[in-house]
Each structure stands twice: as structure tokens, then as C-alpha cells.
């Protein structure tokens, strides 16, 4: 469980990025943190593994205050995947890169070997195992970065903009993978601007604006709300825009699957009337 209590964060240059944030993320929750550029999303997730210690307030991870422990200790339970993979790749092969955190945590070689093979398979990276990560495309490098954190099997997984640079198929795989992680009782926190991705995943949405939480609730409630999305500089999902423009259709439809269900029901009713 991640508990954020009245957190304020001020950068050394005086820029106050988080203003009185309180948030509770239960084990097994799936949360999307959304908001405009500079809203404080990345700053907030950096407090989850102790990279940033709050200026005021507290962050507790499974009851341990982040201020009282090290990042390395928290890294075992909180896996944070950064936005830009180029900020972390350094090994000669993809395999070594993925094994790096396991070596840091002191796992025996056979466990490392088995886990690396498993995660490479899951993320469709097996053909690249012996290649240099620098030879891969942007999307592939992003998946290597993701694999290198997920391999240590952290309890809470925090992803910063995971869909950037991924084609539709990879995005779909990522969505399925995240849902799968979530069903394994992992906490998944995603920072993203990708409303369509969130609409399809249906997580709990925490909306940030100017360092404050302006909404916290179901994706279909928040993403279909014009005033809230506009305040956080987000464009509603296309399906939501379409449904809200047609009189008589429900307003809380945000993805193609639920849209299809509504349309099927309407067509069925029309057929019955005939």
C-alpha cells in the first residue's frame, strides 16, 4: 500500500510542484495519474520510491516512511520505469541490461537466468537478447527498460509514460500485460497523457492540475467530464466526444468496447420495435 499524506514538494530553485497531495493506493490497485505538463505527475511518482523526499508531509510504502529508508531498499518493492529508456541503458547486451537490477539485489545466477528469459519472452524481446540495447529502435529500447525493472518482480509497479513510441500492436500488448500484472495483485501506477489508452484500460484515474489533485475516481466518470478534462489540459476520448454529441446516448461511454455494447443494445431494441 502506498500512502501519501499532505505532501508538498518544492524543488531547490523554489518551484513548488506538489501542493498538499493526499492519496491512498491499495495493494492491487490500478491507477492512472493524469494531468497537464508540469502538473507534478513525475515528481509525485518519484516520491513513491524515495528518489524525492517530500518537503512536507509523508509518503509510506507498506507502512515504511520513505524518508527513513534508502532508495535501494525501496527499489525491491517499488519498480519505477522512467520515461526515456536512454537514461538507463548501458550494458553490452539486452540480457545483461535486464539482469542488472537482479545482480544489484544479489540473486543467484540460476534465478537471474530464469527470470531474464521469462521477462524477455513476455515482452517479445527474446530475439534481441544478445544484441546491444543501443542497436534497437526507440520502442524496443522502451520495452527493454520496462523489462529491466519488471524482472525483479516488484510489488508496486510505477510506469512513467509507458505508451510513448509504441505502435498500436505493442500498446495493445502492453495493455494486456498491465491488466495481467494487475490480476496478479500487483499495484500498477501509470503516468500518462494517453486518454485512449486509459479509456481502454479503465483504471482508477487521479487527475492532477498545478500540483493538486482535482479529481480521483473511475475512468469513465473523469474522462467523460468535459470541465475536468479541460482543466487538466486533456482531450476526452474520441468515443466520449462522439457519444456526448448525440442526444439520447449515455455520457459515460469512453471506449470502443462499451460503445459497441451500447450500439448493439440499441440496434437490438430497434429490431424488436420493427
Amino acid at each position: 500500500m502506498i500512502t501519501v499524506r499532505n505532501v508538498r514538494y518544492v524543488y531547490p530553485n523554489g518551484n513548488e510542484v506538489l501542493r498538499d497531495i493526499s492519496l491512498q493506493i491499495e495493494d492491487g490497485d490500478f491507477v492512472a495519474i493524469m494531468g497537464e505538463n508540469g502538473a507534478g505527475k513525475t515528481t509525485l511518482i518519484k516520491t513513491f520510491n524515495g528518489l524525492l523526499k517530500p518537503t512536507a508531509g509523508t509518503v509510506l510504502v507498506d507502512g515504511v516512511e520513505t524518508r527513513k529508508t534508502s532508495v535501494a531498499a525501496l527499489a525491491r518493492s517499488v519498480g519505477l520505469v522512467f520515461q526515456n529508456p536512454d537514461h538507463q541503458l548501458f550494458c553490452e547486451t539486452v540480457k545483461d541490461e535486464v539482469a542488472y537490477s537482479l545482480r544489484n539485489f544479489g540473486y543467484p545466477p540460476d534465478v537471474i537466468e530464469r527470470r531474464v528469459r521469462g521477462i524477455l519472452e513476455t515482452l517479445d524481446l527474446t530475439p534481441y537478447a544478445d544484441l546491444s540495447p543501443f542497436m534497437l529502435s526507440g520502442g524496443e529500447r522502451k520495452r527493454v527498460a520496462l523489462a529491466s525493472v519488471l524482472v525483479s518482480n516488484p510489488k508496486h509497479i510505477v510506469l512513467d509514460e509507458p505508451t510513448i513510441g509504441q505502435d498500436y500492436q505493442q500498446k495493445d500488448r502492453l495493455r494486456n500485460f498491465i491488466v495481467q500484472l494487475n490480476t496478479q495483485q500487483k499495484t500498477v501506477v501509470v503516468v500518462t497523457h494517453d486518454v485512449e489508452f486509459v479509456a481502454e484500460c479503465r483504471p482508477r484515474v487521479v487527475l492532477l492540475s498545478k500540483g493538486r489533485i482535482i479529481a480521483d475516481g473511475k475512468a469513465e466518470t473523469i474522462l467523460a467530464n468535459e470541465a475536468l478534462t479541460e482543466k487538466a489540459s486533456l482531450l476526452r476520448p474520441q468515443i466520449s466526444l462522439l457519444f456526448s454529441s448525440i442526444a439520447g446516448l449515455p455520457r459515460d461511454v469512453i471506449d470502443v468496447f462499451s460503445a459497441k455494447a451500447v450500439i448493439d443494445k440499441t440496434i437490438g431494441r430497434l429490431k424488436q420495435c420493427r
Partner: protein, 258 residues
Amino acid sequence: MSMRIFEGFKFSKLQTPIHTMDPRAKFVMIMVVFATSLLFTNVLVLTIIFLGQLPLIWLGRSLRRWAGSMKGGVLLAALIFIMNWVTGSTFTYSLAMTIRFLGLLSSFSIFFMTTSPDDLGLALEQAHVPYSLCFTFTTAVRLVPTMAVDAQTVMDAQRSRGLELDKGNLLRRVRNYIPVLIPLIVSAIRRSVELAEALESRAFGLSSKRQPLIMLRMKGSDYLVIVVSLLLLVLAVWVSLCVQLPSIEIPLQFPRIW
């Protein structure tokens, strides 16, 4: 670990006599400090050169950031001292070399804290240095803060994967920085390739004769700074050649280990 050392080399826009000084005059002044530092090995003279820069930093209202750069340089200074002393130099000589390093670091710190990269580029251009070289230089200076931000992000990313930078003995600590340095170098190379492509797409280097929009003009005070600096250099050369300087010898010798 923070990247605070870079603060001591980062330009900040202030209105002080040092900031408004012509970059060429400032460059001459700093070069004189540089040359005189290399001219002497006497600990007293090097201390005077080091301390003599403090009023300039005070005038440039940059004392706190200068202190940051000094703090950042302490480790290297300590290494210089130890290496000199261990390899057979006297205590005073090792101390002198350390003060010389801090003096040189200070002079560069003053120059970069008070000179905007734009002014520096203009000064180079007006000294008839080819534009492509001036551009490379100013871009390099301008990218230092960006690199500092990158370095912090890379460190954060690796710490999130369990890297402990301050763990282990000296050798291990140096090795801990490999996962930080490689991504930093690779992203710098990637950035420079992207920058080159963006510049070429915008017709960089098309016209060989460029007309600068702003021309630097030397003021009377700038000429005065150059004259005083050169006089000090002449004085320093004379002192080094003709004057027997008092020296303090601290009879502390590191035991010979080889």
C-alpha cells in the same frame, strides 16, 4: 548526490560590474590569472592569487554559487594533494599545487558564471574565429546545464534499479559511476546527432559571411581592465625571474613506499 558543482559554472543574468564587463576583457583577465598561477609554485603567491579573486566574485554577486563549485572541487583537490604528497613532493609543494588547482577552478568559475554564452559566441566571432567553431563552443557551454539535468535523471533511474552510488571502497565507488556515465555519453551523442540534423535542415552553414545583429563595443573600463591585467602579468613575470620569494617549508614528508 546532486549536480550542484555545475551551478558554479552556470551563467545567471545579473547587473554587476563583472557581468557587464566585455567578454574579451574578462577573458584577458582570467588568462592572466591562469598564466600567473602556472608561473609560480610558491605557496604564498598561489594563495594570494586564489584569495585575490574573492573580491571579483563578491563584485559579481556570485559568492554562494562559487562556494558550490569549490565544494564540488574539494574531492579532486584532495586527490591532487594526496597524489603529490605520496609520490615524494614536500608538504608545502603539495599544498601549493592544491591551491593552484582551486585558483584555476575559481577563475573559470568566475568567467562562466558572469559571461553569457551568447556574449562569448559574439566575442569569438568578432575575433574572426570561424562561425562553425564559435557555434560549437557556445553550444557546448549551453548544454552543460542540460547535461546536469540528464545526469541527475540517469542517477535517479539507476538508483531505482538498486544502484547504490556511495557503496563500497574507492574502486567500487568509481565503478558505480559506469552505469551513470554510459547512458549520459550515449544520450549526449544522440542529442548532438539530432541537433546536427536539425541544424542542417535549417540551412546551417549556407552563407559564409554572417552579419551579427549585435556588435560588442569595448568601454573605457574594459580597456582599463586589460591594461591592468597585462601590467600585473608583466609584474608577475618580473617577480618570478628576479625576486627571491620567501617560502614556508613545513618539514612533513610522506614516508617513501617505493
